[in-house]
């Protein structure tokens, strides 16, 4: 579907508003048609809400699926035999997980997009890579968790891939030291999940001796929920990382397993950027109308990569705000935004729980 040759030679942050809009209207229309024809559940939804593809004149008008739908249904737009891997979200025990079905083409495009986006921050040369996680998360290659998929995806950008944590999630100082020694003087890519880095890397180093990786570039993602609960935000995180190991280039990314590959990277100014592979619309929760710069709303994500499942337009459960378009001081084109965090569970009114609720 997504014709990689058409877009793969364009730099990842080079499309201005008008050009991107033309490209996206075409791409999203085609994807919507593809999923409409390929996925029965998706077709039922579009028919019932009476979505008229021929008259959809702007991106805001296209229907989007709430992410929770991927937890409840197997949404697939191609023949089951074409599925080569299934990705799952990293739900904690008891929670249901999203299941995302990838065919060869979609999986390949995800990798291409990720490499291209990251190269804007890392350069095009592969770097020695230290993964702040344990090797066991990537062992089962048939069933990819979000964590495993992220690591394998970013591994395309590195060489001499080394895992910093042992199976008990302890820092393997011996391995780290010899890795640093071996690559002394070159840039190093450090990759991991925000919370894992905080808990097992930053905290451990804080207690032990500090190390010096001032030639390191850190990329991390996966969500802030647990850290926000401890009042740790991006600024605190960056400062703490700089303090324990001297890394100054720390880039957060925002993305989800439903749209792997087309991630939103944080620039040097702390803004999350849509690349040529993705876009974002902030919507008013009262009517889903799109909101302009500076207004908080629900974050809808657009990706032109998903061809094997109808995940090109999804509504996240996060709140955020648009900061601008094409005019970030970092020079990257496209929309840039900020994530405020997960929507809060509201108080449930009603009379259906009394005794059992006390045990929670």
């Amino acid at each position: 579907m997504f014709n990689s040759s058409e877009i793969i030679n364009i730099p990842p942050y080079s499309l201005s508003r008008a050009k991107k809009n033309d490209l996206y209207l075409k791409a999203i229309s085609e994807l919507t048609k593809l999923h409409y024809n390929g996925c029965a559940q998706y077709r039922r939804i579009l028919d019932t809400i009476k979505f008229d593809l021929d008259n959809a004149r702007n991106l805001e008008a296209f229907p989007f699926l709430p992410v929770r739908l991927f937890k409840e249904y197997d949404l697939i737009s191609v023949g089951k035999s074409e599925i080569i891997k299934t990705m799952t979200s990293s739900g904690t025990t008891g929670q249901s997980v999203s299941k995302i079905y990838l065919d060869r083409e979609t999986a390949a495009n995800q990798t291409k997009a990720l490499v291209k986006i990251a190269s804007s921050f890392l350069g095009t040369k592969r770097l020695p890579m230290l993964v702040i996680d344990t090797k066991s998360v990537v062992k089962d290659r048939n069933l990819f968790s979000a964590r495993g998929a992220g690591i394998l995806g970013f591994s395309m950008l590195g060489y001499d891939i080394t895992y910093a944590l042992d199976d008990q999630m302890n820092l393997d100082m011996e391995t780290i030291s010899s890795f640093l020694e071996k690559h002394n003087g070159t840039s190093i890519l450090l990759f991991g999940f925000t919370f894992m880095i905080w808990k097992h890397f930053r905290m451990s180093l804080d207690k032990m001796k500090k190390i010096n990786i001032d030639n390191g570039i850190m990329i991390h993602g996966g969500g802030w929920k647990k850290l926000y609960d401890q009042s740790i935000d991006n600024g605190v995180f960056r400062n703490a990382i700089a303090e324990v190991c001297g890394i100054k280039k720390v880039y957060n990314y925002y993305g989800m397993v439903e749209q792997t590959g087309s991630i939103f990277m944080e620039c040097e100014y702390g803004h999350l950027h849509a690349s040529i592979f993705s876009d974002v619309i902030i919507r008013d929760h009262r009517n889903f109308e799109s909101l302009g710069v500076g207004k908080e709303g629900l974050i809808q994500l657009i990706s032109i990569l998903p061809a094997s499942y109808p995940g090109h337009l999804i509504l996240s459960e996060d709140l955020g705000e648009l900061l601008g378009e094409d005019d970030c001081p970092c020079g990257r084109m496209g929309k840039y935004f900020r994530v405020h965090g997960r929507i809060q569970n509201a108080e449930i009114r009603g009379c259906s729980d009394t005794y059992a609720s006390g045990s929670k």
């Binding site: 559940q41 039922r44 939804i45 019932t48 809400i49 009476k50 699926l65 709430p66 929770r68 739908l69 409840e72 249904y73 929760h285 009262r286 009517n287 889903f288 629900l298 509504l315 459960e317 709140l319 929507i343 809060q344 569970n345 509201a346 108080e347 449930i348 009114r349 009603g350 009379c351 259906s352 729980d353 009394t354 005794y355 059992a356 609720s357 006390g358 045990s359």
Partner: protein, 400 residues
């Protein structure tokens, strides 16, 4: 003497002072006490902020209690059962107060476990009860009354269950099962207010005869029945059955939902998480229910999904936060197959209540305990869930 435990707090009354005593239903002292409580609440500045506290205050006033007393006729000698243990809903702030009032009007001593959540309404009502109980003339009632608070604890629940003559249990299926595992004395009575399902019927032609003012009032009543509790209350309707056909029907539906939407837009604060819940529910319904025939959306404030046929398990399909199902037919007899024991309240507009009575009677329906006009769904009454509570919570001494 009542049980004591570290984790158990007496908010009103004390374990050592408590004395189980009984009275006759509608004892003048109790009626008088409730009227004093009504006056106390209605002059309370803090209470004014809470419509639910005010409506409880109104319910307790003399005129209302006298009316109830007159309706409760009978020449037989009736007396309270003894001690009633109330386990009240954690997510409805004032039902504990109604539960208490119903049982004391039946002639009982009461131990009321208030919701574990710290609603301001609980403090306001309990403070008012404490002030009124401190008057000398109510000292005998004071001895018969305790309000307690504890986090879920089987030992404490068991201790009160063992000494009570009856329990009032509000809650979902699991709550009721959990509490019922703890036995009460052989002659003890359990009144369980379980999870229920409610629906609504509107006659299209008669709705079109409404003036603008009447339709606005109707929408206001419907709003109070549903949105006030996000449709989580047992008596809030999820399904609207329209009686009518042709152009009338379309016009009536339009007119009704437009006015509801207007009301909602001016009053209801939709949380972002509920907007997502509603959209997810909508798409799930569209995928799962073959019966979906038409969707009407009024922003994210009001979703109406029309079904061409009602599935047997209709009571499992529930909307929340302003999400309704509708079905159009020419007679209520078309929908008898959906009614089961879960059905509680039928609210109506433009339909004769005698016809609704006949609907239940002629079809010998096993469900539907309550038929009230739109706008009255939330009016809790001493006849609730199909029980006359005073009869349930009292005994007859048969004298010949």
């Amino acid at each position: 003497m009542l049980p004591v435990a570290n984790k158990l707090k007496y908010i009103i009354g004390a374990a050592s002072d408590f004395k189980k005593q009984i009275m006759c239903p509608y004892d003048p002292l109790v009626c008088d006490f409730l009227n004093s409580l009504s006056l106390e609440l209605l002059k309370d500045k803090a209470a004014k902020e809470f419509p639910d506290v005010i409506s409880f205050g109104f319910w307790c006033r003399k005129a209302n209690i006298i009316r109830l007393k007159e309706e409760f006729s009978g020449k037989r000698l009736r007396l309270g059962l003894g001690l009633i243990f109330h386990i009240c809903p954690s997510n409805v702030p004032v039902n504990f107060a109604f539960s208490f009032a119903f049982s004391m009007l039946s002639g009982n001593s009461n131990v009321v476990r208030v919701p574990s959540k710290d609603y301001p309404q609980i403090g306001i009502i309990c403070d008012a009860i404490t002030r009124v109980l401190s008057h000398k003339e109510y000292s005998s009632i004071a001895k018969m009354t305790a309000f307690i608070r504890y986090e879920q604890d089987d030992e404490i629940t068991q201790a009160f269950s063992e000494i009570c003559n009856g329990r009032i249990i509000w809650g979902g299926t699991q709550t009721i099962r959990d509490v019922r595992r703890m036995s009460i004395p052989e002659r003890g009575v359990d009144v369980a207010f379980a999870d229920r399902y409610s629906f609504c019927v509107i006659n299209a032609k008669n709705l079109l005869r409404c003036s603008e003012k009447e339709i606005a009032e109707l929408a206001n009543g419907f709003y109070n029945d549903t949105y006030l509790m996000d449709q989580n209350a047992c008596s809030s309707p999820h399904l609207i059955v329209w009686l009518g056909d042709g152009v009338d029907l379309l016009e009536a539906k339009n007119r009704f939902w437009e006015s509801v939407y207007k009301k909602v837009a001016s009053r209801y604060a939709l949380a972002p998480v509920f907007a997502i819940d509603k959209l997810t529910m909508l798409y799930k319904n569209i995928i799962d229910l073959q019966e979906v025939s038409r969707l009407s959306r009024y922003e994210n404030l009001l979703y109406v999904l029309e079904l061409s046929h009602l599935p047997d398990n209709m009571d499992d399909i529930r909307g929340r936060y302003g999400y309704f199902y509708e079905y159009c037919g020419t007679s209520l007899d078309e929908i008898t197959h959906i009614v089961n024991e879960k059905y509680q309240t039928l609210t109506y507009y433009g339909v004769d209540s005698h016809d609704l009575r006949s609907f239940v009677l002629n079809n010998k329906l096993i469900g539907i305990d309550r038929i009230v006009p739109i706008g009255s769904a939330m009016d809790i009454s001493i006849i609730w869930d199909g029980y006359d509570l005073v009869e349930r919570l009292s005994r007859i001494c048969d004298v010949k």
